[in-house]
Amino acid sequence: MESKHLTPRGILLVEDDPQDAELTLAALEKFQLAPWVTIVRDGAQALDYLQYRGQYQGRTDGNPILILLDLNMPKVGGLTVLKAIRINSMLKLIPTVVFSSSRQISNLLACYQSGVNAFVVKPLDFNEYMKVVGQLVVFWATVNEPPPELRLKNMD
């Protein structure tokens, strides 16, 4: 199915760690964005989702307006996903934020070189964590001007 018939909506959270996923979701809940979040557990699933393959063949919604991407994932890691997204003409304009547990310089560099929009380190302190998630999502979902054909409906 072609995505141009489908309106972009939602946030794709790519996160292998269940606890991290739960915490992020809890944070997003605080901003009432939980219903808009789709969680995939690894990079392969992420690419399947974005490309309407495998279990996501019958997906009916369009591209997400934001991808929150963890880096350390089994099988297909975050950096690979990022690169795959950026060479795919259908996907390359999707705002992608790496949301990582570590600030390793090598990762930072690689991600920026591969065209990441932002790199955020998950804070240890939960309140900080909440604040950061809120800032992130609010920014990308409401403050930032998304690329032309991506417009989130039903979010207000």
Binding site: D17, Q19, D20, L23, A26, S101, S102, Q104, K122, P123, L124, D125, F126, N127, Y129, M130
Partner: protein
Amino acid sequence: MNRQNSPEGESLSRPANSEQFGTAATRGGEQCLAASQAELALPGMRYELPTPVRKGDPQPIEPQIQALRDSELNYRRLFEAARDGIFILDLQQGRICDVNPFLVELLEFTSAEMIGKTIGELSPFKDIESNQVMLEKLQTKGYVRYDHLPLETKSGRTVDVEFVSNVYEVGDRKVIQCNIRDITTRRHAEIASNRMAAIVEFSEDAIIGKDTNGIVTSWNPGAERIFGYGAGEMIGLSVMTLVPSDRAAEEREILETIRRGESVKHFETLRKTKDGRLVDVSVSASPIKDKTGRIVGVSKIVRNITETKLNEKKIHQLNVDLEQRVADRTEQLQAANLELEAFSYSVSHDLRAPLRHILGFIELLKNEANKSLSQKSIHLLATIAQSAQRMGHLIDGLLAFARIGKAALKKTDVNLDRLVHETLEDIRSSIRDRSLTWTLHPLPTVWAERELLRLVFVNLISNAVKFTATRNPGIVEIGWKMGDEAEIILFIRDNGVGFDSRYSEKLFGVFQRLHSQDEFEGTGIGLANVKRIVLRHGGRVWAESKLNEGAVFYFSLPTQSGRADGI
């Protein structure tokens, strides 16, 4: 010996003079002949005239006496002037009748002390055969000879002499004449010469004499051993016999050097033995000069350095091996270090996630159960959170520690005054409500990595601030001094609680603390970081303290000229 009491005998006992002589002559009878005769204290000693003048002989006495007198004078002169010692002894008893001046000088006895005694009675001769034996020898064989007789003079000096004794017939009398030749100098020369000869004979090195054309003139046993040629074979041959054909030029050059009057010292080369082998040698050669300074030959010492060379090779090989082992070990160490750092790093990272989860879920729990939680439950949750936070600090500390080892130092000129002031700015918030006195001496500029050095100051100053918490005011002094060996020593002194210097070893260990958490919070990793950073700069770190009397923390940095990059 018969002593004749004759008028002649009496007159003989008086010192001679021409009058005496004349008096004796006018007495007729037997004459006493020479002036020296009068010195013979033995009465009755006479010389027989070669042409006896009988009593009443009408021949004129004067010319004959004159001839005799002249002859006697000549012989007397010889006796007096001889450069050998002469004893005249009587045969029957071996008593000394006469002694010449040379002997008086040599033995240091006066003639009066010697005349009348037997030779054996004279102390220099006390150790030779007894008088009796000598006399017997003389009487039977007619001579006695000692080739080398050591004598002790009156003053205790030792001289070596040749001693020859003969019996002479003088008319019907027999006398013993002893000739004593001083061979001390000759003896010394002999001994010295023998010593020199022994040195050459027994030397392990080849000692070779050559003439100025390179013909071998002497060849010692050492040379025989090294080269295999006997002395008989080599003497007369050219030294080129020993030189491998490709080194012929060397010998020419050596001869040239010698001809110029110079020496060749320890020239390492190869020479050929009789059986064709090549041997490693060290050659030294010097010119032999005669008394006029003319070069008449070459003295050459050739040392077999085969073993030395082997040892050199062994040492070289050992060094090469050692270098290799050091390189290997260093590589291993570096690999181990890298592993350790990677380990620390990944462990710290991997630990962060669960920590984050604990903290996160505590919050969620608190939010979830907010109203229904008892005070106690809230307290318990808070404790869990606190522990998790502490774990976070520890991990951060570990991470920082691991990070220090990773990258190469980026050194620049660091103005320490400015760095310290920046650090104080950074910790301003934590010292807002403290009463602190700062004594900041002007600090130099050092060559170091700024960020790491900042960490050092942050750590040390924070510690000073922390451990003076109970002091009012807390006094912190920061200064520096020149070290002994091209280093700058910085110090931070505080008037805080100090530490027990018995445990100062542990102070800089990772996770080591000398105070409990109740007393002062801390991870125990700050000083480990400080030590690591300072070591990487090639410096040292140490501390002095007395409990409750404050502490001083020192760290040194090499000065620019003595830059050391550490590991």
